[in-house]
């Protein structure tokens, strides 16, 4: 849809101002997009590596656990694990990546790991699985942090790209067209005026 405007000088100067703003905005959006993409790629690489590592280690821990469960009776496992261990504390902070809030997580380090169960009824496999999982926890937190940041950045990049395109292919061409039309119209008026003046002058000269 073309812009609605009156062919006046006032309108022309307004449109020119808006066009300048649009061009500046477009340049900044473009820079923002480029920087976002750059950071995104770094994060996404990290995300992929982290996920591969976490999944591998977690899978191992789970397998150990399955073995441990096979060695013990269901009741014994329940008894050993249903008692809640000391809850881990996670520090939730926010950090900004180009003014996009993303989570920053850190775990309060525990001094020495304690098994939440006695050793009488449990096997060594269970110890191994629990120990392994405790070691994976920081990794899992980092994964959570990076993965959330990656997905937020992806959203933001998509939005920014839409804005860049809207400015580049819709707003700015519309302004250009409107400005051109007003200039043509004004020049036409000017010419009309001149010829009218000449005509009037001619008529006056004839009368005198």
């Amino acid at each position: 849809m073309a812009l609605q405007y009156k062919p006046t000088r006032m309108e022309l100067s307004n449109l020119k101002k808006r066009r300048t703003v649009a061009i500046r905005g477009h340049k900044m959006m473009k820079d923002k997009r480029d920087e976002l993409v750059r950071r995104f790629i770094v994060l996404a690489r990290k995300n992929k590596a982290l996920r591969l590592e976490t999944e591998k280690k977690l899978g191992e821990a789970m397998q150990n656990f399955v073995l441990a469960r096979a060695m013990m009776s269901g009741n014994e496992i329940d008894e050993a694990l249903m008692y809640p261990a000391r809850a881990i504390k996670v520090d939730m902070a926010k950090q900004n990546i180009l003014s996009i809030p993303v989570p920053k997580l850190s775990m309060e380090t525990q001094d020495g790991f304690v098994y939440p169960y006695g050793f009488a009824t449990t096997g060594a496999d269970l110890d191994g699985a629990v120990q392994a999982l405790a070691e994976i926890l920081p990794l899992m937190l980092e994964l959570a942090e990076v993965e959330k940041a990656t997905s937020r950045l992806a959203d933001e990049i998509e939005k920014t790209r839409r804005r860049v395109n809207a400015l580049e292919y819709v707003m700015i061409p519309q302004f250009d067209e409107a400005i051109h039309n007003i200039q043509m119209k004004l020049e036409e008026n000017e010419r009309g005026n001149t010829s009218r003046l000449m005509k009037t002058k001619e008529m006056l000269a004839k009368e005198a």
Partner: protein
């Protein structure tokens, strides 16, 4: 600097282990229940919620709802039967959304 909480949602067998290291666990038996639990946790200030891959697709609704906020981070993890590649697929989708094509797949 809020003190956040962590939770794991999944089937009972997979999450029992997390209890031993001090993460809150929520056992669910079907997707709808998982989604409801996740929604409740997300609204009550949990920082990170891990969902096992089996139930992750069912939680789509809640995941989309909280996508625009920094917290909670909802993260898929493999369960006892191993990984199904859902987590990797999520990364791939993100990359495709941001860059236009998956530039990480063969690196």
């Amino acid at each position: 600097m809020a003190n956040g909480k962590c939770a794991v949602i999944g089937d009972r067998d997979s999450i029992l282990l997390f209890k031993a290291v001090g993460i809150e666990v929520y056992a669910v038996t079907d997707g709808e229940q998982a989604n409801k639990t996740l929604h409740r946790l997300a609204r009550t200030g949990y920082g990170v919620v891990y969902v096992t891959e089996t139930y992750y697709p069912a939680c789509e609704e809640t995941i989309l709802e909280f996508q625009g906020e920094p917290y909670p981070a909802i993260i898929p993890i493999p369960d006892v039967s191993g990984t199904q590649g859902i987590g990797m697929r999520a990364i791939k989708e993100n990359v495709e959304k941001a860059v236009g094509l998956d530039i990480l797949s063969n690196s």
